[in-house]
Structures are given as structure tokens and as C-alpha cells.
Amino acid sequence: MNRNVPLILLEISTKISWHELNTSTDSEILKIRRKVGEVRSEIHRMMGFVRFNLINDKILFGYMKPKHRIGRLVTDIFARRFQKNMIILGNEHRVWISYYCANSYKRYEDSRSLNEIIEKVKLLIDLDNEVDIEKIWKVYYDSQYIKERENHKLFYKNMPKKHLKSTGNSIELKLNTKTLDDYIHSD
């Protein structure tokens, strides 16, 4: 949960049932319902928009700056998805690391920046390498665009800039900042 949630709401939230949370019209409970929705949708967004680079085929790292305290949870979800791979997610102030194998998680957290941690990891495994998957992704992503069906409004609604920044996906961010018109006329 976010730090900005008033204590009183946190207190209420421990007392109410799932059923109450979902059907009540009480204004306080409504606030909790909205907050739950916000947190859930941020988790879902991170699962979709976070991108990984590979140092070697077992070490994946990516940028993530969530608004709520979901860093560890999201890192664990990815660790489970990519079993036996080391997942490193983080930003300028915080790094979460998780590794999942045989039904157990190994976790590490650090308050240094993502770049510092990556440098350290590269040093430890003595490898300075990054696999460029983005190149292939860009070609594929552009191939899916249908000129006749351009829909700026829907695009901005689904991929607002503020969300792209928190997951650091550069291809869509470029598309988003260049303004869509530049992009379309350039090809």
C-alpha cells in the first residue's frame, strides 16, 4: 500500500469482509475499494510493461518505479514466471532481486541504484554483455501497425506517458514523446 493512505482507512480495511468491500456504498469503504483497484492495476501494468535485458541467459534486469509498495511482489511474480533465472528490477533508489527454484524464493534488496547493482553483478560474473532483443521487438512492433486504423486517443489512453516512464520501455516512449504524427509521417 501507498504511504499516503490515511491510517483510519488501513484500520477499516483489516475489519471488513471481501463481500462488504465489493458491495458497500459507504464512502470510506468506497475509497478502499478504489485503492485496491489502483494497486491491482499497477501490479498488472508492471507485469505487462516492464522490459528485461539479459546479461547472460540466466540474469534478467529491468527498470521499474512503482507508485505503490509492490516492488518485491512484482519481482517475485517474474521470478516464478522465469524459473531459475535471476530477476533484477529497480530504479534510482531501490533494487529488488528474486530467484525462484523448487518452490522457494531467494530474495535480495538494496537501496543503491539499479545501475550500480548491474555494474556489480557484471563484475561478479566477469561478463560485460547485453543481449539486444529490443532491435527485434522494434521491427515486430512496427509491423503490427495498420495505417488506416490509426487511433491516437485510444493509444494514449492505453499507454499514457507517465506509466511508460515507470517501466522504462523506450520504444513506446519514443513513439509517445515524438508525437504520433512525426512517427506516422516518417515511414
Binding site: K58, I125, V131
Partner: protein, 412 residues
């Protein structure tokens, strides 16, 4: 908390899996191949990656979700959740709307993947978290069985060599043998055959090489038979191209009903026709995207809201088309005789009020067990779109006349 060194040690000591030479394959790959074969599927719109399969094994790569995940959106605002690609763009059918048709007059290069290559690209994109899985379709090449065998080989490499457990949507090409469909059904989450048009006659206008009954419906029937024996995690779907052969919305509706009732389909997708330059239909005008949107609303009313066939028929005009209005509102204006009281209406009755969906109807039913609904704010807090719903509701005794309903809905 475990130390950084320990985790690195754990991760790198486990046996090396097969993508170590990724860098090399990326250098040798022809990017224009990815571009052309990717473009070949851009009109395929099934991007749902939701499946009922549960990944509970250890030692696999990947996972699936019930909700599905969009990993990106194109400038069309459409979800990108899978690596959608053709296996080859070489095709011996002559579908008039298609850029891979033998009828196509422009120049084009023919590309094909090898199963190994395609599996590697899929795994790399998957590990970068760009995609939920693979959507594999193809031109039929010289023979649909030969190309399907290669496509299945791709799935087998993903499965056996990479232990891939992500989502797979596999297109069954028209006319493929039962044996191959069976093999595909054992690996894929979702199978689909594109029916393209609502009936035999319409299809024969668009293609002289495809037979509606034997190439398409029979294959759907095979998939259905396989589904009865063993559940397909994400079911069977299909897709129609809307407006390429003058069919009406009502024709499409009739076919959709058959597909759901007789073929047990999970979903039908509609793709508004867009003319592609130098195909035979380049002169035909494009269909408005709202037509596609209204068809989806009609589809939703049948599939999710469980409206009856005769109720939905109200929404079609005399020529059998939906107009550019919300069909649910249109049906409500014509079919709801009296206002609905949210305190005693059944779930189904609530669902028929514009502005009340399955979620809010469910909330109302639960809420009124202990409370009485007497003002609009309560409905607002239960998630109802009050502006749309008010003309059809009886709240605290107040209700709209039929005339006021029509006037109240003019602006919507």
C-alpha cells in the same frame, strides 16, 4: 534475505540452457523477414492471451494468466500480447482481400522461418517480457499439411527444448488433416480456423480455392470433437472479415449463433474490411470501424449478457444492419415496457437496463439484501452509469414516461 553473490551463484550454476548463442542468431536473422511475416498477421485480431491452463510444474519457462496481459499497444490503440506471425507468406489460395493471394498483382518477396529460428525469436522476446506467447499462422504454401507439420515442429521445439509454458494460439489452415489438428490441440492453448464470411455463397465470391463446408466447417467440427474429449485450455475461436462481400450484419449474427451453439466456440472476432493496394478489392471502400464495434456489442449481449436471440433481433433494421447506436440502448427503448425497480428486479432484469452491467447488477443484488435503494447516489457508488440508467429505473416512486425515455436518450 540471501546475499547477492549467493543468488548469482545459484542462477549461473544451473545447467546452461539453449539460448547461449542468441547473440549470433540475432546477427544472422533477416529483420525484413520479421517485418513482412509480422505484417501478414496484423489483421488477425485475436490478441487475447487468457487461458484456463494452470502452470504448476517446476523446471518450465513461462506462465499464463486467467486475465491475459497486454504487453504493448500499437498506434492503432490495439493490444499487442503475442508474437503474431506467419510461418511463410507463400500461399496458393486466391482470397481477393489478401496480400498473400495468388491474385495479388504487386511484387512481393517470399519469406519462411525455420522452426528452430522461430522458436528462438519467440523465447527471446518472451524473456524480454515483450510477449505472452506465440500466435502462429501461415500461408498454405504448396500444401497445407506440409506447412502445418513445420508449424507443429516449432511448437515441439518450444516445448521440448526450451520447456516453454507460455501461451500458444495456433491457426488451423483450411483443409488440414485431422491428425495434425490433433497434434496441435495437445500443445496449443487455443485453436482457430478463420471462417472469413457468414456463408458458402459469400466465400465463393472472395475465393475460388476454398470450400466453406469441407475446408472450414469440417475442420471446426474436428476441433470440437477433440475439445469434447480433452478440454482445450483457451477454446476455439474464429474470425470474419466484415464488409468485403456485401453481407449484412444479420447474416453475420446468424452465423455467429451457429458458431456458438453448434461449434462450441469461445469467441467470434470481427475485422472490418480495409482494402489493400494491388489486391483485387483495392477499389472497394473500407468499412467504418464502428461497424466492427457494434458487432462486438451485439456479440457481447448474446455471449456475456445472455440476451435471447429474439431480443437481439430487435436491434437490426429492415435491411439487416445495426445502426451506429448502442444496441443495448436500442433494445431497451423498444422492449422494456415498464420501469425497473432496482429493489425487486431480478439479476436478468437489471442486466437489461442500459448503464447496468454484470458487475453492477451483481453488486445491486447483494447490496439490497440488507439495504433499500432510494436514491441515485447509491447506484453511482455501486458502479452504475446513472446518467444512462435513470430513464429506465423507478427510484423512490419516480419514473420516466415512454416519451421521456426517448428524449432522455437522445443525447447518448
Amino acid at each position: 534475505m540471501t546475499s547477492l553473490d549467493k543468488i548469482i551463484h545459484l542462477a549461473t550454476q544451473s545447467e546452461y540452457d539453449c539460448i547461449g548463442d542468441e547473440g549470433k542468431i540475432f546477427e544472422s536473422i533477416d529483420l525484413s523477414k520479421i517485418d513482412v511475416l509480422g505484417q501478414g498477421t496484423k489483421h488477425d485480431i485475436c490478441t487475447s492471451s487468457s487461458t484456463r491452463r494452470v502452470v504448476d510444474q517446476n523446471e518450465v519457462l513461462g506462465d499464463v494468466t486467467r486475465s491475459g496481459i497486454c504487453h504493448s499497444f500499437t498506434a492503432n490503440g490495439r493490444c499487442v500480447s503475442m508474437f503474431k506471425t506467419l510461418f511463410t507468406n507463400y500461399c496458393t489460395h486466391d482470397c481477393k482481400y489478401c496480400q498473400n493471394s495468388t491474385d495479388y498483382k504487386g511484387s512481393k518477396s517470399i519469406y519462411s522461418y525455420t522452426p528452430e529460428e522461430l522458436a528462438r525469436i519467440t523465447i527471446s522476446l518472451y524473456k524480454g517480457n515483450y510477449i505472452e506467447g506465440l500466435f502462429l499462422s501461415s500461408g498454405v504454401s504448396s500444401d497445407e499439411d506440409i506447412i502445418t507439420e513445420k508449424m507443429i515442429e516449432t511448437l515441439k521445439i518450444l516445448n521440448d527444448k526450451y520447456n516453454f509454458a507460455g501461451y500458444v494460439h495456433f491457426k488451423i489452415l483450411p483443409g488440414v488433416s485431422y491428425e495434425y489438428i490433433k497434434q496441435a490441440s495437445e500443445i496449443a492453448d487455443r485453436l482457430s480456423v478463420n471462417i472469413e464470411t457468414p456463408s458458402k455463397n459469400y466465400l465463393s465470391e472472395l475465393s475460388s480455392t476454398k470450400n466453406y463446408a469441407s475446408d472450414i466447417l469440417k475442420r471446426q467440427h474436428y476441433i470440437k470433437k477433440l475439445e469434447i474429449k480433452k478440454e482445450l485450455p483457451a477454446g476455439q475461436t474464429t474470425q470474419l472479415v466484415v464488409g468485403a462481400c456485401g453481407e449484412s450484419d444479420f447474416d453475420i449474427f446468424k452465423r455467429t449463433l451457429k458458431e456458438y451453439k453448434e461449434m462450441m466456440l469461445k469467441r467470434v472476432y470481427y475485422s472490418a474490411f480495409n482494402p489493400i493496394a494491388t489486391t483485387s478489392l483495392e477499389g472497394l471502400s473500407a468499412q467504418p470501424t464502428w461497424r466492427e464495434h457494434r458487432l462486438y456489442q451485439m456479440d457481447w449481449l448474446y455471449r456475456v449478457y445472455k440476451f435471447s436471440e429474439s431480443e437481439i433481433e430487435i436491434a437490426f433494421d429492415e435491411e439487416g444492419f445495426l445502426n451506429n447506436k448502442d444496441p443495448k440502448l436500442y433494445i431497451a427503448l423498444n422492449a422494456l415496457d415498464s420501469s425497473t425497480d432496482p429493489n425487486d428486479a431480478s439479476y436478468d432484469e437489471l442486466l437489461r437496463v442500459p448503464g447496468i452491467g454484470p458487475k453492477s447488477a451483481h453488486r445491486i443484488v447483494n447490496y439490497r439484501k440488507k439495504n433499500k435503494i432510494y436514491k441515485k447516489e447509491q447506484l453511482l457508488n455501486l458502479g452504475v452509469r446513472v446518467k444512462n440508467a435513470t430513464p429506465f429505473l423507478k427510484i423512490n416512486g419516480g419514473e420516466y414516461s415512454r416519451l421521456d425515455q426517448w428524449i432522455g436518450c437522445q443525447t447518448q
